[in-house]
C-alpha cells in the first residue's frame, strides 16, 4: 500500500514538451510510472517519448483515462494549468512550478479546495514542490527515485533536497518508505501536513511518519493539533532554527502571525503533541526506530 498514487495511477504531464517536462517524464517512465498522456497546447496529435500529446487536458483525459497530472509549465501559465486539471475531473494534481504569485495561488487553492467539499474533487500537491513517490510503484515529480526504498515510513515535507537527505538516511538505515511527499515550500499550498497525515494514518503499510517542517507559516502547529488523534508515531524535524527573524514584514505580518511561525514555536507545538523532534537530520532514523519499538 501507499497513499495518493500507486501502480494504477494514470499520469498526464502538463507541459510535456518543455525541457523540464520532457526530462522528468523520462525519469518517471524509467521509474515505472504509467505516463499515459501529455498536454501542450498546439502540439496535439504529436508524441513525446512515445507518449501521446493533446491540446487540452479534457481531451487527454477523454482519450487516455488519465487520473493524475503533474505540472511543468512556466510560472505564468501554471495557475491556469491547475484549473484546467480541476475542470477535467482529475483526482490528483502535482504542481512542480515555482515562483507563482501568491494572489494567484490563493484563488486557485480556494477553487481546488471548494471541489473537495462533500467529498471527491481534486487534491493538489504543491506548487513549488518536488512531488511524490510511492516506493517501487509510482513517481510523480522530480524526486530522485534511487534514494527511495520500499519500507515502513511515510515522509511528508515542505522541503526538496532536505527531504532527499532524510529519505536517503531512512533508506540507508533499512527502514524504507511507503510514500514520500514534498508538499512544497510556498506560503499557500494545495495540501498541508494536516491534509496528508490522515492519509498515512489510514494506510495499513505505513507504521510511522516523518514530518519535515521549516520556519514560517503555521502548518506544523496545525499538524500538531491533529497528531494526538493518530495511532501511529510521528517524528518531526524543523529546519531554520537558527535563521534570523528576517527583515521586517510590516505590522500586518506580525499581527497575523501572532508569534507562530518561529522554529521554536513549531518545535514546542510538536513536542507538546508528543512528537519527538530531531535536532539534526542524522538523528531521525534512530528516533523512528525507537518509536516503532515502543
Amino acid at each position: 500500500m501507499s497513499i495518493l498514487i500507486n501502480r494504477e495511477t494514470r499520469v498526464l504531464v502538463q507541459g510535456i514538451t518543455g525541457r523540464e517536462g520532457t526530462f522528468h517524464t523520462q525519469q518517471m517512465l524509467a521509474y515505472g510510472t504509467r505516463v499515459v498522456a501529455g498536454v501542450t497546447p498546439g502540439k496535439g496529435g504529436t508524441t513525446t517519448l512515445d507518449v501521446p500529446v493533446f491540446d487540452t487536458v479534457a481531451e487527454a483525459v477523454r482519450q487516455t483515462g488519465a487520473n493524475a497530472s503533474v505540472i511543468f509549465v512556466p510560472q505564468r501559465f501554471a495557475p491556469d494549468a491547475v484549473l484546467e486539471a480541476l475542470d477535467a475531473g482529475l483526482s490528483l494534481c502535482v504542481c512542480i512550478t515555482e515562483g507563482i504569485p501568491i494572489q494567484e495561488m490563493i484563488r486557485v487553492v480556494h477553487f481546488v479546495r471548494q471541489s473537495q467539499v462533500g467529498g471527491g474533487g481534486m487534491r493538489l500537491i504543491g506548487p513549488n514542490c518536488p512531488g511524490l513517490i510511492s516506493a517501487g510503484e509510482c513517481k510523480i515529480g522530480i524526486m530522485p527515485g534511487n534514494i527511495v526504498q520500499r519500507g515502513r515510513v511515510g515522509v511528508v515535507s515542505r522541503s526538496g533536497t532536505l527531504t532527499y537527505e532524510i529519505v536517503d538516511s531512512l533508506s540507508r538505515a533499512g527502514l524504507g518508505e511507503t510514500t514520500c511527499i514534498g508538499i512544497g515550500g510556498d506560503p499557500i499550498l494545495g495540501s498541508t501536513f494536516a491534509d496528508i497525515l490522515p492519509l498515512f494514518e489510514a494506510d495499513p503499510e505505513t507504521e510511522a511518519v516523518v514530518l519535515i517542517g521549516e520556519i514560517g507559516g503555521s502548518d506544523e502547529e496545525a499538524a500538531a493539533e491533529y497528531i494526538p488523534r493518530m495511532t501511529k508515531p510521528v517524528i518531526g524535524f524543523i529546519s531554520g532554527r537558527t535563521a534570523p527573524p528576517g527583515k521586517r514584514m510590516g505590522h500586518a505580518g506580525a499581527i497575523v502571525s501572532g508569534g507562530r511561525g518561529t522554529a521554536q514555536a513549531k518545535v514546542e507545538a510538536l513536542t507538546n503533541a508528543g512528537v519527538p523532534v530531531a535536532d539534526t537530520t542524522s538523528e531521525i532514523p534512530g528516533l523512528v526506530r525507537q518509536a516503532l519499538r515502543s
Binding site: 484563488r107 479546495r113 526538496g160 496545525a222 535563521a243 534570523p244
Partner: protein, 380 residues
C-alpha cells in the same frame, strides 16, 4: 519587494487614497524648498524600508523651511538598522485628532487575504495586537467574491471608529484593497490613518510590499525594485538568479534547496560557527551558476571559510564540482572550502575535486564540524 514610503504613497494616490502634499528629496536645500512651497509645518521622514525609524530619529517635525533644511541635513546620511538614508520625504504635517490602523495582508493559515482595522493606530499597533487583540477588527476575503462592501462596513464598525469617520474610512479601505490587488502586494498598510482635527482622513504613513514572483507582470514597478535593493552584494546575487540573504557571521554557506541550506546553517551554528549568508543555488544549477555563487559569497570580506552542501537530485554533483573549480580559476581563493557532495553523479563530482585544495566531507554534520574547525583554527 519592499518599497519606500513615498513610493507606496505614489501608488496609493493613483487609487484615490488621500495623502499629504509633499515630495521626496535627496538634499537638505531641496527639503527647505519643498517646505517653503507647502507653506506649512512639515514632517521630514527618512526613506528606509525598515521599521523603527521614528525611534532611530529618522522622523522629525519642522516648523519653517530653515528648520526643514536643518533636520533633513541631520537625517540624510544617517544609518538606520544598517541602511544609509539617501532620501527624505518632506510633507505637510497633519493636525491629528485620532490615529487609525488599516492593513491588508495574506493570512497563510486561513489561505486568504485579511483586512484589519483598528481605532488604536499608530506606532504601538503591534503592542495592541499582543495585549488587546480584540481592538483589531478583521475580515477575511473570499477569493471568489473579493472584498465585499459589507465587509468593509463590518470591519470599520467593529473596530469602533468614530461614527462620522466610517463612511470615508470605507472609501479608504476600498482604495487600499484596489491598490493591494492591482499591484500584487503581499502587504498594504496605512498606519496611521489620521483623522484630522478638521474631520477629514489622510494617510500619513503607508507601506506596501510587492510579491517578487509577480513582478513580471508589473514592469512599471521595476524602477522601485532598483531602489529597494540596499545591499549591493544581495542585489548582485539576485541579479544572478541566486537566493541570497546576508547574515552576520564568517562561514559562507552554499547549497541547493532552501530547506537544505537552512539545515546547513543550523548545523554550522550547532558546531559553534556563525553563518555569513544563506545562499540557495536552486535546482539543476549549471557550473556557471555555481561559480557565480562562490564569487558572490567570497565578495563578502568577512568570510573566512565556505561550506558547500549539495544533495544531487536534478542538480548534478559533477556540475557543482566544475563550477567550484571554475571559480577557483577565476579568483584567488585564500579561505578553506569544505565540499559535501552526495546524490546524482557524486562519484564523478568527487573525482573532479581530487587533488585540489578543496576539502571533501561525507555528511552534512561532518562538513559543518570541519568548516567550523578550520575557520576557528584560522587556516585550511
Amino acid at each position: 519587494m519592499k518599497i519606500h514610503e513615498y513610493q507606496a504613497k505614489q501608488i496609493l494616490a493613483r487609487y484615490g487614497v488621500p495623502i499629504p502634499r509633499g515630495e521626496a528629496v535627496t538634499d537638505a536645500d531641496a527639503a527647505a524648498e519643498v517646505a517653503r512651497q507647502l507653506g506649512s509645518p512639515v514632517v521630514v521622514k527618512a526613506q528606509v524600508p525598515v521599521g523603527g525609524r521614528g525611534k532611530a530619529g529618522g522622523v522629525k517635525l519642522a516648523r519653517t523651511p530653515d528648520e526643514a533644511r536643518a533636520v533633513a541635513g541631520q537625517i540624510l546620511g544617517m544609518s538606520i538598522k544598517g541602511i544609509v538614508v539617501r532620501k527624505v520625504l518632506v510633507e505637510e504635517a497633519a493636525q491629528i485628532a485620532a490615529e487609525y490602523y488599516l492593513g491588508i495582508t495574506v493570512d497563510r493559515a486561513a489561505r486568504r487575504n485579511v483586512v484589519m482595522v483598528s481605532a488604536a493606530g499608530g506606532m504601538e499597533i503591534e503592542e495592541v495586537a499582543a495585549t488587546t487583540p480584540e481592538k483589531i477588527a478583521r475580515v477575511w476575503i473570499d477569493p471568489g467574491i473579493g472584498l465585499a462592501d459589507f465587509q468593509i462596513r463590518q470591519v470599520c464598525y467593529a473596530a469602533g471608529l468614530e461614527r462620522e469617520a466610517v463612511a470615508s474610512a470605507t472609501r479608504f479601505l476600498r482604495a487600499l484593497y484596489d491598490a493591494y490587488v492591482a499591484n500584487d502586494a503581499g502587504l498594504a498598510e496605512i498606519n496611521p490613518l489620521v483623522l484630522t482635527t478638521s474631520g477629514s482622513l489622510i494617510a500619513t504613513d503607508a507601506k506596501i510590499d510587492i510579491d517578487d514572483n509577480a513582478l513580471y507582470r508589473h514592469p512599471e514597478l521595476a524602477a522601485y525594485k532598483e531602489e529597494s535593493e540596499d545591499d549591493p552584494v544581495e542585489a548582485e546575487a539576485h541579479r544572478r538568479g541566486l537566493q541570497f540573504v546576508r547574515l552576520e557571521g564568517d562561514v559562507g554557506i552554499i547549497g541547493n534547496g532552501a530547506g537544505l541550506v537552512m539545515s546547513t546553517l543550523d548545523e554550522v551554528k550547532r558546531a559553534g560557527g556563525a553563518p555569513a549568508n544563506f545562499l540557495d543555488i536552486g535546482g539543476g544549477a549549471k557550473a556557471d551558476l555555481v561559480a557565480n555563487a562562490l564569487e558572490v559569497v567570497l565578495s563578502n570580506e568577512r568570510v573566512k571559510g565556505v561550506l558547500f552542501n549539495i544533495f544531487g537530485g536534478i542538480t548534478r554533483c559533477d556540475e557543482v564540482a566544475k563550477g567550484i573549480l571554475e571559480a577557483a580559476r577565476r579568483l584567488s581563493i585564500r579561505v578553506p572550502i569544505v565540499v559535501r557532495l552526495t546524490g546524482t553523479n557524486e562519484q564523478e563530482g568527487r573525482a573532479l575535486l581530487q587533488g585540489t585544495k578543496l576539502i571533501p566531507a561525507e555528511t552534512m554534520e561532518q562538513a559543518a564540524a570541519r568548516i567550523v574547525a578550520l575557520v576557528r583554527g584560522g587556516a585550511a
